[in-house]
Amino acid sequence: MIWVDTLVQGILLGGLYALFAAGLSLVFGIMRLVNLAHGDLIVFAAYLVLMGVTLLGLSPWVAALIAMPLMFALGWLLQIGVLNRVLGKDILPPLLVTFGLSVALQNGLLEAFSADSRRIPAGALEGASLDLGIVTVGVMPLLTFISAIIVIVALNALFYHTALGRAFRATSDDAVTAGLMGIEPKRVFAMATGIAMVVVTIAALYLGMRANFDPSIGPARLIYAFEAVIIGGLGSLWGTLAGGVIIGVAQTFGAAVNPEWQILAGHIAFLAVMLLKPRGLFPRAVD
């Protein structure tokens, strides 16, 4: 029954990748912006939570709750101050700007926190596990996965059952006509990036509690997030969860065969999906 265990661990790992990816998917779905600094923003948020824990003595959960509005504000300002200026028909300027932001964030974090590996202390939760009969699962991976589901349910509810979500979808369809409805696309985009940064904070909390991080690891997280989004079909949130799970499962099975194959197996799964379904598993009808 070892393979059942491997499968479950992979699915749970997929929750973490889905959390990395959900914010990226949201922003891409609304404004067709690929934020190359997404991984570095996760690392930035992880340091923010860590500071709350080490400097203020807060629990990681409380520190994350405090970091969320700060990250929302950062996302809002980033969109209004920088990204809105470069969004347009040409997709290259926003790519270059977010790439520059990625480099600046990495170096800023390096300057502020040094290259030392850090970890957000999670206390007793770190090693806790649950015996489910057939498999034993870590409490932390389980919490991560449940959080990913909650985040995706919440984002879907926001997207499909609120006035703001209607504005998101309308602006994504046709920004000029959305303007005729009294919607200001730039403000809608700022809200979207703000919300994406709240999701980034949740991702950062689990990233930081589950593994060591340092200022340089952002781009690797971006790759996993990017692959999850593309496997799922650009702009589909449940697809993003599926994408995360596929990468997670591929990685744990790869590692079960040979520990050196973990990362490689995830990337191969991504390429295999691209070969079979170039538009992802759940592509949007109109693109």
């Binding site: 994504s172 000029v176 303007g179």
Partner: protein
């Protein structure tokens, strides 16, 4: 005056589309703007609604210069548009398309979801459908309903009969008197001269970016229209 344009000019790059257009619309009026393809009618609508930005004083709303304001602000002032080609949001259902029209502004007036469904009963049956899954005429009804949801002071209708069957056009034009009865002034942009003259209190004819005729429908002859429309005597 509810809305005026003063010496309004507009260009697309090097191409000048409007050369000093003056029109005026007062509360409760129905004004028609007719003209051939390329006469500048749609450019005029796009200038009024802020899709094309102009000099502030070229467009006045209750005397206030709004020519350089963005679309969203102009809409919130109570000027709603049914855009050419309908432009429904494909990701939104019929009902969501309607709701989004009244999301940023809920003016005083009779229009809400139920009132729009009473105006166009077929939309009530189709409310869960994707807006773009409807027939052209039904899509036009959604586009009109969407614009009404904000209870606008002024409704701009850009080519609402274009590409529709005559029987459908009749149904859509039958809705306009009810819109006026609700206190909304209307500007219809039309290529169909007969339709325009039938509903309007005043008609402007445009040709090559200029207004070539302003008249009451009762006062104009076919020859006048022909001359203003094509620039030649009949």
């Amino acid at each position: 005056m509810l809305l005026e344009t003063h010496n309004l000019t507009a260009s697309y790059g090097q191409f000048r589309a409007l050369f000093g257009v003056d029109i005026a619309v007062d509360t409760g009026e129905c004004v028609a703007i007719i003209g051939a393809n390329g006469a500048g009618k749609s450019t005029l609508m796009r200038s009024i609604t802020g899709i094309i930005r102009n000099e502030p004083a070229m467009v006045l709303h209750w005397g206030e210069p709004i020519g350089a304001r963005p679309s969203a602000e102009i809409m919130k002032r109570g000027i709603a548009m049914v855009p050419e080609g309908r432009r429904l949001f494909p990701s939104l259902s019929v009902e969501e398309n309607l709701l989004i029209g009244g999301q940023a502004r809920k003016g005083d007036g009779p229009w809400n979801l139920e009132a729009v469904y009473d105006l166009f009963p077929i939309l009530r049956e189709r409310r869960k459908n994707a807006g773009t899954a409807l027939s052209g005429g039904q899509q036009q009804m959604v586009a009109i309903g969407r614009a009404l949801m904000s209870n606008p002071e002024l409704l701009l209708c850009d080519e609402i009969s274009l590409g529709l069957a005559p029987v459908v056009i009749r149904d859509i034009y039958a809705a306009l008197p009810k819109v006026r009865a609700g206190g909304t002034a209307i500007v219809v942009v039309e290529q169909d001269i007969g339709k325009a003259l039938a509903v309007a209190d005043r008609v402007y004819c445009m040709m090559e970016g200029r207004v070539t005729l302003v008249a009451k429908p009762a006062d104009v002859t076919r020859q006048d229209i022909h001359a203003a429309y094509f620039g030649e005597a009949a």
